[in-house]
Amino acid sequence: MRRISCKRICRPKVTIKDIDAQRSSNSGRWMPVPDGLVCSGCTACVKICPTGAITLKNDRQLVFKYDACIACRACVDACAPGALVMGPGIDGATSRGALTHAFSINKLSPNLPEKPQTKDAVIPEKIKIFARSMHVREVDCGSCNACELEIAAISNPVYDAERFGIHIVASPRHADVLFVTGPVTRQMELALRKTDAATPTPKLIVAIGACACSGGLFGNTPVTGTGVDEFIGVDLYIPGCPPSPRAILRSILALRSGTI
């Protein structure tokens, strides 16, 4: 029997590129983006968006708040000139603001604006200590369970989050990171606060899915909140409804390597 070198089994430096190389049929981060055609400014998309994720600013800028986008395609279907398409969406960001993108309506650029690439990213100390190992506790605060299923899928043999040192644990006492989903329902608020309090610092809070990032389709009612950051501080927002396992992994790895 041939000996397999340990290097091939243990790859301490797996990068986001490796995940990208794995992708099967498409990127799994479908969200509406302008595709370069000229938008007529009719605001059909603004009117139809069920979560108010699109706004028209000063009659000349179309502003997409991807933290609220549930990837429902309603805007794409409603756009008569066909200026919107479902494209690869955007990965996680450390603030909701960074998930907002503005496009001039007269020349919708085909791609999302490039982020300035900082070569030697300064990774905050708090994140650096989790660079190789993250013990994760998941708290569902009113999701539809699709976000749960995708988080569960990151540990399956295809995505295998354990090879990045990402490990799901059974108690907040063991956790470095909380994955939170759902808009935070009234009846889960206390449990979320208690879980947060029981997790030792330093810790990272990751809001996963449109519901957790902004309330999504279900937020802001008498029985639901407007996302996790209404209640506890959030370090990483991963948009999508639900974000695919690939998007979740990419976002976390990007956070750890300081590229977002």
Binding site: R73, D140, S143, P183, Q187, T195, T224
Partner: protein, 545 residues
């Protein structure tokens, strides 16, 4: 739409159903299910009958005893603005007549109560308590009048389904306690679990009373995830309604949106094109497959049978990738809308689904052989978490859980809709009612699903996938039903004059099946709870709404 004939006894009800069946049979000269199945995407289906509130208890018991109906759903609506009262709806399934009997009665505004039937028909227990919470209507004579949906910190006298509920204001929290049932005796102790669980599981609280390892009693405390979906459906456009329905419960995305869309289509009397019917069936079955595979893998995980869990996860991932390839969403979101599908799929894609069937059949066979050839698996699965046929019947259990306890119920056969009206199915049942029966049944159903996909795609023709004009409307209401992976889903929708949703009530199979879980656990040991729970495969999101 409601039968105007005056209803006094069960005989009148039978006559009303038969009249309607005759009407449909006459139209096409086929078996009643089929005729309407083609016309409206549903079987004889819903038969709406107005009755007097005082007749309800007698009629309900007669329907169960004489027509062998099962109570599926009770809901109520605030109609004080135009009807001077609340309307109370009881929905019975009568499989022998392929009919969902919808009894509607009126509760006067000045006497907000109705006779409880929970003692005679335990299946009504949660339904009646939910109505009490949400609308403030008292089920008189209910054996367990505690709160169900709204937790103890919700103030008295605030009812979210009433028209005068202020949906802009946050509701203040009050002090209150929830009384758990106490089991007392020497050596009895309580184990409290949740709401946040160890693992990636939705939230809910379980209170076990046990002696040593043995479970004497399990009390469920759910509804932590209550998002007010039914209330906040109100005023939404028909498309938004479909988007919300998709997001009620992630792994029932297609089922819930099809149930919702069928309700709308029945209100507008729209028959969707055949291609759309076939593709809907394909999506429903793909969803059933990934849901069942997640379940099979979950059961393997819970007994630390890693190889089975990994193989199931891989196969499930293949299905999910296929779904992504088909629709751009791993949960097939954004495909279903009233009138058919939101967009067509290419023949190339259809071809890839067809070629997937063979691969999947091999994989399923191998997975089943891997799982059931191990003594450690058999040892943990057999005779664990037995739900007796009697309990399953009394509690109105639906879906694979019922079928594994020997009850032949399947919405696709009992009340055929869409493609299933053209393609009759056999109902697969098993009789042991234990975890092994439920897991084996799921293997069988995955194979059956592959067969259905093959049949649906076999004779598919190109054509439109969407019809209907849903812009102009007059008030109307109808029921939609679907066999979701977990069992029968019912969605009742009422629309207003502007083609917006006036009221929506949803009952996912989990709401019927949750109360049966404690009965399957009596006498089992605490460490088997996760396994039994997984084999029931209950959605918290779909239950809590």
């Amino acid at each position: 739409m409601a039968t105007t004939m005056h209803i006094r006894s069960i005989k009148d009800i039978v006559r009303a159903i038969d009249n309607k069946a005759g009407e449909y049979a006459g139209k096409a000269g086929k078996r009643p299910g089929e005729a309407l199945g083609e016309a409206l995407g549903g079987a004889l289906g819903e038969v709406l009958i107005d009755i007097e509130l005082s007749l309800l208890p007698k009629l309900a018991l007669d329907i169960v005893d004489e027509l062998h109906g099962t109570l599926q759903f009770i809901f109520a609506v605030d109609e004080r603005s135009h009807n001077n009262g609340f309307s109370l709806h009881h929905i019975f399934g009568i499989p022998s007549k392929h009919c969902l009997l919808h009894l509607k009665s009126v509760i006067p505004a000045d006497a907000p109560e109705f006779p409880s039937l929970a003692l005679q028909l335990p299946a009504m227990n949660w339904h009646e308590r939910k109505i009490a919470d949400m609308l403030g209507l008292t089920p008189v004579g209910h054996p367990d009048p505690r709160r169900l949906v709204l937790h103890e910190d919700w103030p008295q006298g605030v009812y979210p389904w009433r028209d005068d509920f202020d949906s802009k204001q946050k509701v203040p929290r009050v002090k209150g306690t929830y009384e758990f049932h106490r089991i007392e005796g020497e050596g009895v102790f309580e184990i409290a679990v949740g709401p946040v669980h160890a693992g990636i599981i939705e939230p809910g609280h379980f209170r076990f009373s046990s002696v040593g390892e043995k479970i004497l009693y399990l009390e469920l405390r759910l509804f932590y995830k209550h998002r007010g979906i039914e209330r906040f459906m109100r005023g939404r456009s028909l498309l938004e309604g479909a988007l919300v329905a998709e997001r009620v419960s992630g792994d029932e995305t297609v089922a819930n949106s099809v149930a919702y869309s069928q309700a709308i289509e029945r209100i507008f009397k729209v028959a969707i094109p055949e291609r759309a019917q076939r593709l809907r069936a394909v999506f429903l079955e793909l969803e059933r497959m990934h849901c069942h595979l997640a379940d099979i893998g979950g059961a393997a995980t819970d007994i630390a049978f890693s190889i089975g869990a990994a193989k199931a996860a891989l196969l499930r991932e293949k299905v999910m990738s296929l779904c992504e390839m088909v629709s751009g969403s791993r949960f097939l979101r954004g495909m279903i809308a009233p009138g058919g599908l939101r967009r067509d799929i290419d023949n190339e894609v259809i071809h890839r689904i067809s070629s997937f069937i063979e691969i999947a059949l091999c994989d399923v066979k191998e997975l089943e052989a891997t799982t059931f050839s191990r003594s450690s698996v058999i040892d943990r699965f057999m005779k664990t978490g037995v739900l007796s046929t009697e309990h399953a019947l009394n509690l109105g259990v639906v879906g694979p859980v019922a079928r594994a306890s020997g009850i032949a119920v399947d919405t696709r056969t009992d009340y055929p809709y869409g493609f299933y009206a053209m393609h009759p199915l056999d109902i697969i049942t098993r009789f042991d009612g234990d975890v092994a029966a439920r897991v084996r049944l799921k293997f069988d159903e995955v194979r059956q699903s592959l067969g259905i996909i093959e049949a649906a795609l076999g004779a598919i023709k190109s054509g439109a996938v969407r019809t209907g004009d849903f812009a102009v409307s007059s008030r109307g209401q109808a029921l939609g039903w679907v066999e979701a992976p977990r069992g029968m889903t019912l969605c009742w929708v009422e629309i207003d004059d502007e083609a917006k949703i006036a009221n929506c009530r949803l009952r996912t199979p989990s709401f019927n099946n949750w109360p049966a879980l404690p009965y399957a656990l009596h006498g089992n040991i605490v460490p088997d709870f996760p396994l039994v729970n997984k084999s029931f495969n209950l959605s918290y999101a779909g239950n809590d709404l």
